[in-house]
């Protein structure tokens, strides 16, 4: 008993020091995950997970390591196919998603381990995010005249705005493999933003960053949500960030959902506290 109240008071103190999250105008449910179960051979990664995401909100998924958070994003993205359950996006229901379909529908994603194209420059990496919208065919591209050239320039302009936004102008021609980790994470975000997504899935965008870098990244996420109304689903370990910027939180542990609601509610949930601090069983 004593341990739980101590933990609760620690979280309370953190919350008191941070400013309250700005009130956001939330829309209808845009993404609805129902009863998703995923297993690999004998290992159950996800068991009967259900939650919804409303338009324009920032939804956090938290949980200890190995809880299945990345697997959940992978299911939404079409990288993994769940054995059970369905995902509804804007009214259309799918039992499993195909990656390209998901990209076309307007869901973009960053990766925990940075799946950047190491051989290409920052500019080219972000330009690949524009791929869905490039219409000119092979022959026009080979000749590089007229419409193909104009289209390339148009997309370059859009990507340059993203580069400005993320403040990585100095590195646009550098091969991403040579950049420090924090900048690579920004490029990953930039590539996802280039897809003009309606929903942005961020997999631990602040992992491995120092305080300043985290503040910058938070600012980017908030700005994207503010200016473009992009819905954000983010996996994050830093409690301060989660409490600060998210509207609602889903808590996973060992592949099961153990909490769902506004940050205040979730941090007082005894199951959540147990999961993070552990109790004697």
């Amino acid at each position: 008993m004593n341990m739980m109240t101590d933990a609760a008071s620690v979280l309370e103190q953190e919350q008191d020091q941070a400013p309250a999250a700005p009130a956001r105008k939330l829309g209808e449910v845009i993404l609805d995950v129902k009863n998703i179960s995923l297993s690999f051979g004998g290992v159950k990664a996800l068991t009967d997970i259900s939650f919804d995401v409303r338009e324009h909100e920032i939804r956090a998924i938290i949980g200890p390591n190995g809880a299945g958070k990345s697997s959940m994003l992978n299911c939404i993205n079409g990288v993994y196919q769940p054995q059970q359950g369905s995902i509804t996006f804007r009214g259309q229901t799918f039992s499993h998603m195909k990656s390209r379909q998901v990209a076309e529908m307007g869901i973009a994603r960053t990766f925990q381990n940075l799946a950047l194209f190491k051989g290409m420059s920052v500019l080219d990496n972000i330009m690949t995010g524009r791929n869905l919208r490039i219409r000119s065919n092979l022959f026009l591209q080979a000749l590089r005249i007229g419409p193909a050239e104009r289209e390339e320039i148009r997309h370059r302009e859009y990507v340059e705005r993203i580069i400005d936004f993320l403040e990585i102008q100095a590195f646009r021609k550098t091969p991403v493999g040579q950049l420090p980790y924090g900048l690579q994470k920004r490029v990953d975000l930039g590539r996802a933003l280039a897809m003009e997504p309606q929903v942005l899935l961020l997999d631990e965008p602040m992992a491995g960053m120092n305080l300043e870098e985290k503040q910058d990244m938070c600012r980017f996420v908030l700005d994207v949500n503010d200016e473009f109304g992009t819905t954000v689903v983010l996996i994050e370990h830093d409690m301060g960030v989660v409490m600060d910027i998210s509207d609602r939180v889903v808590v996973l542990d060992y592949g099961k959902k153990i909490g769902d609601g506004p940050p205040d509610e979730v941090r007082r949930n005894p199951d959540v506290i147990n999961a993070y601090l552990g109790t004697a069983h």
């Binding site: 992978n74 990288v79 990766f111 799946a115």
Partner: protein, 309 residues
């Protein structure tokens, strides 16, 4: 029917020889993750060494007995393969530790060219023969069951037995000995193996040496049958489909794959060949492998290839 069985048996024998070459590939791939395109060149190199030394030893030492000369030549050739393995690790593998698959493949191609050049410079480029006392006359069996009996080549039979013995030996080596375990660990993950104290360079020397000995045995048998000549290097290319069928990491797979390819080639040449102009042996194995790649890329016995995000 008798003819069919004859073709079948001929195919099995030929297949056994493919298996021997494929074995060398599997060993190196299993233990170091490297696809050794130089295996064919190693077969030639080993065969050349043995052929020439068997010729030279009587001249140098005055020993008349062929058996002694052959055994001595075999041992010297084996020692030479060890030296080759040692140099390969020292000059090539050590410098390419973290490179990708394609780079390592190309490096082994480089080694292949080099070995071909060195082998022919040291040992000459004519056709040589290896005479290890293999009986060249055929045996006619099953005379009661089929008219005229079935022609079985004694040489092929003995080759098959030698190959089987070698396979049994290697399987025991991999499964039961601690060195074999270490080899499997290295194949799985170089860095992890290194971090638990397995000496990578020594393991690689051992593996390439074993593969070299296998290549030597293969070269000895092929050379005894066909004569030792440059075309032995193309044998390596014939063995690749065997690997696809059997699985790149499976020793029994190499054997069974070899048998299937051997039989398939002979049967298809005899029965399908005349319909399309003949000579389909050169691509039959490969097209069969292609089919496997589309349906079951890991082959009959290989491990499933997993791609992690």
């Amino acid at each position: 029917m008798g003819f069919f069985l004859e073709t079948l048996l001929g195919g099995l024998m030929a297949g056994m020889l493919y298996s021997l070459v494929a074995l060398g590939f599997v060993l190196i791939f299993k233990a170091s993750g490297v696809f050794n395109f130089a295996q064919g060149a190693m077969v030639l190199f080993g065969a050349l060494a043995m052929a020439r030394f068997a010729e030279w030893i009587p001249g140098w030492t005055g020993i008349e007995s062929k058996i002694v000369a052959n055994v001595a030549a075999f041992m010297i050739a084996g020692a030479i393969m060890f030296v080759v393995a040692w140099f390969v690790e020292l000059l090539v593998l050590r410098h390419l530790v973290n490179q990708g698959e394609a780079t390592l493949l190309m490096a082994t191609l480089g080694i292949a060219y080099f070995l071909e050049g060195v082998g022919q410079t040291l040992f000459g480029s004519n056709i040589y023969s290896i005479d290890i006392g293999m009986p060249k006359d055929p045996v006619i069996a099953f005379e009661q069951a089929f008219e005229g009996g079935i022609l079985i080549n004694k040489e092929d039979l003995i080759a098959a037995l030698i190959a089987a013995a070698l396979v049994a030996l290697l399987t025991v080596f991999f499964q039961k000995t601690s060195t074999g375990r270490a080899l499997r660990a290295v194949a799985d993950d170089h860095q992890a193996a290194q971090s638990i104290g397995i000496p990578l360079s020594r393991i690689w020397v051992i593996v390439w040496c074993v593969a070299g000995i296998v290549a030597l045995v293969a070269g000895m048998i092929w050379g005894s049958k066909l004569g030792v000549q440059f075309s032995l290097t193309t044998v390596a290319l014939r063995a690749l489909p065997v690997l696809i069928l059997g699985g790149l990491t499976s020793v029994p797979g190499a054997i069974i794959g070899g048998l299937i390819i051997g039989v398939g080639e002979k049967l298809s040449e005899v029965y399908i060949g005349p319909m399309v102009g003949g000579g389909i042996e050169i691509w039959f194995a490969y097209v069969l492998a292609l089919g496997f790649l589309l349906i079951r890329p890991q082959g009959l016995f290989g491990e499933k290839i997993i791609d992690r995000v």
